[in-house]
Every structure is written in structure tokens, then in C-alpha cells.
């Protein structure tokens, strides 16, 4: 899933403080799972903002809605009838949802309520870690199912670097060295011999480097 983290409330206030009628818009997908932008967090943010405006002696309208998703037309359309009641939206969806919202409601100011962080997993409640950088050309078949692009601090395809120490990455003892994980996994699969195959220079044109990407599938287009 896409993992996001809450933005500091001061940052949100600084952006929206001039507005009078604000919609806080949550998303029921990834950001709900990572507890940054679901219905619950929408409620928490709305209460905090109400408190702030009350202390300022201002009467600001603050409504809460959480959509099934903000990255699909279908769900974003659900607010078309009510959007005119507001002069700003704080979207707690990931950056994708914020942008789709901005595209669809072209004259409505939209502010991000979370920092979108990475594609990752829930290791345990309250701990999310990165697994993929959407490079567009997955090499996991060659690396024992562990991604060096997202999990090695230098995205080394033929690692580890000399800084790998007791399973940790040179940048931080708390972070596992991706290449230690790859080697452990190749061993577990009885494929350690594969380690010596040199991974070729990667085609990064399918990555961010190649410019904005799209997937177009005629077979599923109507």
C-alpha cells in the first residue's frame, strides 16, 4: 500500500487559516490502513482545527467526509453536489488523491493533510516500512524476492557495499542491509550460486527518471 504520515497540525493551520468553510476529506484505502488519513484521522484533525478556530474566536465551518477512494472518478464524484458549500478542502488522501481532487474541482483550493512516504507494509501496528519504489521493471525474480532498489540506501544491484555491518546498513543500525537480506534469502532458497551473476546496468527509463509514466491497456478500455 501507499504509506503516508500525518502532517504537523501547525503546517496545516498555516495553509488554511484564511479559509472559512473547510471540508476535511479522508480516504478509506491505504491511508486508513496506515492510520494517517482515514475516517478516524479526519475526525481527529477536524476536532483539533475546531479547537484552534474557537481559540481564535472565529466561526469556521468544518465538515468531515471520508470517501471510499480519492484516486477514482467514481468516488470523487460523490462530493460534486456539496463541494460548493466550501472554500477549501484538506485532503487526507495520499498525494495521488490530493491531485486528482485538484484536477477534478479545478477552482477549489486543495491542501494536503498528510505526507505521502512510500510503498510499504505494516510490519506491526504503528510500524510501516518501505518495500518498493515502483521502478517499472521488477527484478525481484533475480534478488530472491527482496528489492535492492527500495531497500538498499544506494540501490546497488550488485551489493552489498563495504558498509554492510552485522546485518545493518551503513547509514543506520536500525535499518537492515538489503543485501544481507538478499543473501540470507538466496541461501534459504539454496540459490546462493546465483549471487555471482552480475546484474546488468538497469534501464531506468521505466522509473521516475523516464518522466511521468502511464499504463495503458486497450484490452480493458471500454
Amino acid at each position: 500500500m501507499i504509506v503516508a504520515d500525518r502532517k504537523p497540525i501547525e503546517e496545516i493551520i498555516a495553509e488554511i487559516k484564511e479559509h472559512e468553510k473547510i471540508l476535511i476529506l479522508g480516504c478509506n484505502e491505504c491511508v486508513t490502513v496506515c492510520e494517517a488519513g482515514g475516517k478516524k484521522e479526519v475526525g481527529v484533525l477536524a476536532s483539533a482545527l475546531r479547537m484552534y478556530f474557537l481559540n481564535q474566536g472565529r466561526d469556521v465551518k468544518l465538515d468531515e467526509i471520508t470517501l471510499e477512494r480519492q484516486c477514482d472518478h467514481e468516488y470523487l464524484e460523490e462530493i460534486r453536489d456539496v463541494i460548493d458549500q466550501y472554500d477549501a478542502v484538506v485532503s487526507l488522501a495520499c498525494g495521488v488523491g490530493v491531485q486528482f481532487m485538484a484536477e477534478k474541482y479545478h477552482t477549489m483550493p486543495v491542501y494536503p493533510g498528510v505526507n505521502t512516504c512510500f510503498l510499504g507494509v505494516t510490519e506491526k501496528r504503528g510500524l510501516w516500512t518501505e518495500r518498493c519504489q515502483a521502478c517499472g521493471q521488477c527484478i525481484l525474480a533475480r534478488t530472491g524476492g527482496i528489492c535492492p532498489v527500495s531497500r538498499c540506501a544506494k540501490r546497488i544491484l550488485n551489493g552489498p557495499c563495504g558498509g554492510s555491518t552485522q546485518g545493518s546498513c551503513e547509514i543506520n543500525k536500525e535499518i537492515s542491509c538489503a543485501w544481507q537480506l538478499i543473501i540470507d534469502r538466496l541461501k534459504a532458497l539454496d540459490r546462493l550460486d546465483d549471487y555471482e551473476q552480475i546484474d546488468p546496468i538497469k534501464d531506468w527509463s521505466t522509473d521516475r527518471a523516464g518522466g511521468p509514466r502511464k499504463v495503458e491497456r486497450e484490452d480493458v478500455q471500454q
Binding site: A153, K154, R155, I156, L157, N158, G159, P160, C161, G162, G163, S164, T165, Q166, G167, E170, I171, C177, Q180, I183, D184, L192, Y195, E196, I198, P200, I201, K202, W204
Partner: protein, 310 residues
């Protein structure tokens, strides 16, 4: 051994001499005299001088410019190149730039992570990795082609090196990793600083058993301790360096003012032992900001005068 480039380092190794290299870190400023002064301290005692490439990710004068300066002094530079800061366009371009000044040695590295340096909020590139950089230089040299497939006019004649760290984890792939670098085309290796000689000897034995030592020239890396503080720092803070406790104790048991001397003594003793290790073809003496000690170390190890080759 077949000679592939005009590199003096390659010739010395091919002639069967124990090679001696050292390194200079470029200044944090634009004064070229810093390089000249450092080089003058060591030039008669080494065969080639590495110029580090923004080591520990601290921004400095570029390695290429400093190498050109050495070349203009008539010395033999080893251009260190990290893959952290440049993509494949910039790396290939700098290789050609170096070749234009007849810089004949390159050391392919990934580089420390930028979080260690003065720009921890910067991006890193890592378009290719150090093994792929070895392949890139060999491809440019031997095929006379760019990575993109076009022809290179006057291909870069570079003797290709890399680092190896026998002490990093996991130990079991340390020799396979060397094999991988050799398969990529590396011709010489400068190792991480060696303090744990037993472990180094084991690594060399394992490499020898696989027949790797005939395919690459290993220069053993050494760094003298200036103080017990430095020894402890190396042990505890520098990723991938192992310092045996006895060595720390030996430094700690030495009165403070005698510690530099003791550090040099340890270094020389280590080199004497390393000279006997099968497959060691030379030394890479990294006297970090202590270049003035290099001549003494080289002389006391019996590696002076340096051989001349044409």
C-alpha cells in the same frame, strides 16, 4: 601478465614488483597548492597516488581536477570515482576527460552514503553501481564504445581498479564478491584497511583456492593509527573496519605522546607480515591527513627505493 594500458602501476605489477600506492584527499577549497604539497611529501615513495572522490560525502575539490594537477607534476594518479554523484552520462564523460589528460588508472567505488557528509539532505544518483562502473570502463576501453553503443574515438586507456573489503558482512560472500568484480573486469584491488590480519589471510586463502589471485592484483590497504582514540573510532564508528582488541590495548598501553610512533610501528609490522601473504602484490598506504609518515613507513618496510619502469 599482458599489459593493456600505459599505466605505470600496471607495468610495475606486471614486472612482479610489490607496488606501493597512497592517497591524497583534495582540499575543501580551490587552492591547488594543497594537492601539490601533499603529493610532494610522498611522491618519491609511491608508484601512484589515489585522489579521493568527495570521500565520506564531504564536498571537496573534484578528484579529476586534482588528478590533472598530479599529472602536470609528472606523477601517476589513480582517479577515484564514486557512483553516488554522477549518472552514466557524467561518469563516461569524466572518464574521457581523465583519459584526455592521460590519467591511466581508475578506482571504481559506490561511495559512502551522503548522510555522512555535509549535504545529508541531498539526492544520490546510483544510476549504476561500482561493479557496473568496472564494466563500463572496460567496455569503453576494450570495445571502444559508449554504453549507448556509439563508437569512441581514442578510447580511454585505463587500468581498472576497485576496492574490496574482506571485513564487511556477510563474510561468506566476500570471496564471491571479489570473483564478481573480477568477472566484471577489475584488474587491481585496493583493500579496506587491514588490522585483523588473521581474517585477511583467511580471505586471501579462500580467494587463492578459487584461483582468483592470478586474475587480479591485490594491494593490501593499511592505515597507521595516530592515537588510541583513532583506533577506537575505526573499530566502533567506521562501518566495515575490524580492529582486534589486542591492537587497541597495545595503543592504549602506550603513553599518549608515544602513540603516533607505536601506530606507525604496528603498521610496519603488519606490512611485514602481509608481504609474506600469497597473492599480496603491493600496498595501499592510507595515512589519512598524515601523509608525512608515508616515506618512513615505506622505507622501514623495505619498499624503498621504488622501481622504475618505462
Amino acid at each position: 601478465m599482458k599489459i593493456n594500458t600505459p599505466s605505470k602501476l600496471e607495468k610495475i605489477l606486471a614486472a612482479g614488483h610489490l607496488a606501493v600506492t597512497s592517497e591524497c584527499g583534495p582540499p575543501r577549497g580551490s587552492d591547488p597548492e594543497v594537492i601539490v604539497e601533499k603529493a610532494n611529501l610522498i611522491k618519491d615513495h609511491v608508484d601512484a597516488i589515489n585522489i579521493t572522490d568527495n570521500q565520506t560525502s564531504v564536498t571537496r575539490m573534484c578528484s579529476l581536477a586534482a588528478c590533472i594537477k598530479l599529472k602536470l607534476m609528472g606523477l601517476e594518479p589513480v582517479l577515484q570515482m564514486v557512483t553516488r554523484d554522477r549518472n552514466r552520462i557524467a561518469l563516461q564523460s569524466d572518464i574521457l576527460g581523465a583519459a584526455a589528460f592521460d590519467i591511466h588508472n581508475v578506482l571504481c567505488l559506490s561511495g559512502d552514503h551522503q548522510s555522512f557528509g555535509d549535504c545529508p539532505t541531498g539526492q544520490n544518483v546510483h544510476d549504476i553501481d561500482s561493479i557496473q562502473l568496472i564494466q563500463t570502463v572496460r567496455h569503453m576501453r576494450d570495445e571502444s564504445k559508449f554504453l549507448g553503443g556509439d563508437d569512441i574515438s581514442r578510447s580511454p586507456k585505463m587500468f581498472v581498479g576497485a576496492a574490496a573489503n574482506p571485513f564487511a558482512d556477510p563474510f561468506e560472500i566476500r570471496v564471491p564478491r571479489l570473483a564478481k568484480k573480477i568477472a566484471a573486469g577489475v584488474e587491481f584491488i585496493q583493500t579496506q584497511c587491514i588490522y585483523d590480519l588473521d581474517k585477511f589471510e583467511l580471505w586471501m586463502k579462500m580467494a587463492g583456492d578459487r584461483g582468483l589471485l592470478e586474475k587480479v592484483s591485490i594491494l593490501a590497504g593499511v592505515t597507521p593509527f595516530k592515537s588510541v582514540g583513532m583506533a577506537r573510532y575505526m573499530k566502533n564508528r567506521v562501518p566495515g573496519i575490524e580492529v582486534p582488541d589486542e591492537m587497541i590495548k597495545r595503543m592504549a598501553d602506550t603513553p599518549k605522546e608515544k602513540q603516533p610512533e607505536e601506530g606507525v610501528k604496528i603498521c610496519i609490522e603488519s606490512m611485514q607480515r602481509l608481504k609474506e601473504v600469497e597473492g599480496v602484490r603491493g600496498f595501499h598506504v592510507m595515512a589519512i591527513e598524515w601523509e608525512e609518515m608515508v616515506p618512513e613507513i615505506v622505507e622501514k618496510t623495505g619498499l624503498y627505493p621504488r622501481p622504475s619502469v618505462d
